[in-house]
């Protein structure tokens, strides 16, 4: 059981890091997506930076929300997160985002695609980590249920 638990802890720390950078990538994708829609006439005219800042709470909140029923904590980013953040920073620069209204249509689409690909790869790694963690946890749960492990030994 200690080995199982260690395997889960390692995978969970990686999952935590990947989830963090995934959310950051999604946020940047949503900011770029907002500009694309604005140019197509779909959003208000807040094309300058103050307008963008004002819209950030709407852009960055996801209305569709489920909960996974798991204890959720907010941890410090680990080394995997910091490494992935550097990769993401290489994909999109500060100027791309705050100056998003000054990019031409072609560059805007390019940035959108690049961040989208990065987000998709993170989501795919995250799904694999979920499968791994959930398999381990079903086994840990089974051992508790079948009495192979008791809470007292753990505590």
């Amino acid at each position: 059981l200690p080995d199982l638990r260690q395997a889960r802890v390692t995978a969970a720390q990686a999952e935590n890091d990947v989830s963090l950078v995934r959310r950051v990538a999604q946020g940047r994708l949503d900011i770029v997506g907002h500009e694309i829609r604005r140019r197509a006439g779909a959003e208000g005219d807040g094309s300058d930076l103050p307008g963008l800042l004002f819209s950030l709470p709407d852009i960055l909140s996801s209305q569709s929300r489920g909960t996974s029923g798991r204890a959720v904590v907010i941890n410090e980013p680990g080394s995997i997160a910091l490494m992935l953040v550097e990769e993401l920073d290489a994909v999109v620069s500060p100027g791309d985002l705050s100056g998003v209204d000054s990019l031409d249509d072609g560059s805007l689409r390019m940035v959108c695609e690049r961040i989208g690909e990065f987000e998709a790869s993170l989501s795919s790694v995250r799904r694999q980590l979920h499968e791994r963690i959930d398999t381990i946890q079903i086994e840990i749960g089974r051992r508790y249920r079948d009495g192979e492990v008791s809470v007292d030994t753990f505590l």
């Binding site: 904590v73 907010i74 920073d89 290489a90 946890q137 079903i138 749960g141």
Partner: protein, 250 residues
């Protein structure tokens, strides 16, 4: 691109302008999405996530103005803790947990402490209901009402704000977490106190707390271990947290 980011930081720190500050805010704002998403997961569905993001933005702006380039921390690490603090502080200040629910939780805790002092063991639901002059169903309804507010409400009822700026919640203290530069000993001691308090509880409460916080199983997975419904796990969890609180504040 990494050097463009470094340039903005260096430029901003040596000569803070609104323009550079806004640039940094937009660039790092998605960190607020991350924090708000996680906190939202522990709140009832009717809480507007956009509000959480606005609260978090204050924490981000604070982090940008206060960040010290030479201290050697990563900005993301520093910003995440400021953003989380800002969201939780604002939630507390708008007192989002309904007074009536808070009052009911307090009365259940008082009954628990009183009974535990008298019986020298953790009281059963029957005993607690009797003490409060309620039926078993009415007591369960109270547990359900508290659970429906989500995990942040329960965390709040057991938050260990002794550390100052970074308010540690029950989840933070119990769950696996990498220790940050500060507060390691405080959390280890807290974990110890909590482990001892959990050890003195009933079997099912112990299992739910251990599996939820230490083994990080979902409520549904815990239900399968205990052979009960997920909503029953929720009730046991709520009761266990109230019990923990009554023990630790006794």
């Amino acid at each position: 691109n990494a050097s463009e980011l470094d340039d903005v930081w260096t430029r901003y720190k040596s000569n803070p302008t609104q323009e550079d500050r806004d640039l940094l805010i937009v660039y790092y704002a998605p960190l607020v999405k991350y924090v708000a998403g996680r906190i939202a997961s522990g709140l009832p569905q009717n809480v507007d996530q956009a509000d959480l993001v606005s609260y978090g933005m204050f924490g981000l702006i604070d982090a940008i103005t206060k960040f010290d380039l030479d201290r050697g921390f990563k900005f993301e690490t520093y910003a995440i803790s400021r953003i989380k603090g800002a969201v939780l502080d604002e939630l507390r200040s708008i007192d989002w947990v309904p007074r009536s629910v808070r009052a009911k939780a307090k009365s259940v805790e008082r009954a628990m402490s009183k009974l535990e002092a008298k019986l020298h063991r953790v009281p059963t639901d029957e005993e607690i209901a009797e003490e409060l002059d309620l039926t078993g169903d009415q007591l369960n309804a109270i547990y359900n009402q508290i659970s429906s507010l989500g995990m942040v409400a329960l965390d709040e009822m057991l938050s260990f704000g002794a550390g100052g700026g970074e308010n540690a919640t029950l989840g933070d203290t119990l769950a696996d977490r990498r220790e940050g530069p500060g507060g390691v000993y405080e959390r280890v001691e807290m974990r110890q106190m909590l482990a001892e308090a959990i050890n003195g509880m009933g079997e099912r409460a112990k299992i739910v707390l251990t599996l939820y916080y230490y083994e990080n199983l979902t409520l549904a997975e815990i239900g399968r271990v205990l052979g009960v419904t997920e909503s029953r796990v929720c009730q046991i969890h709520t009761k266990a947290v109230l019990q923990l609180r009554s023990k630790l504040t006794a």
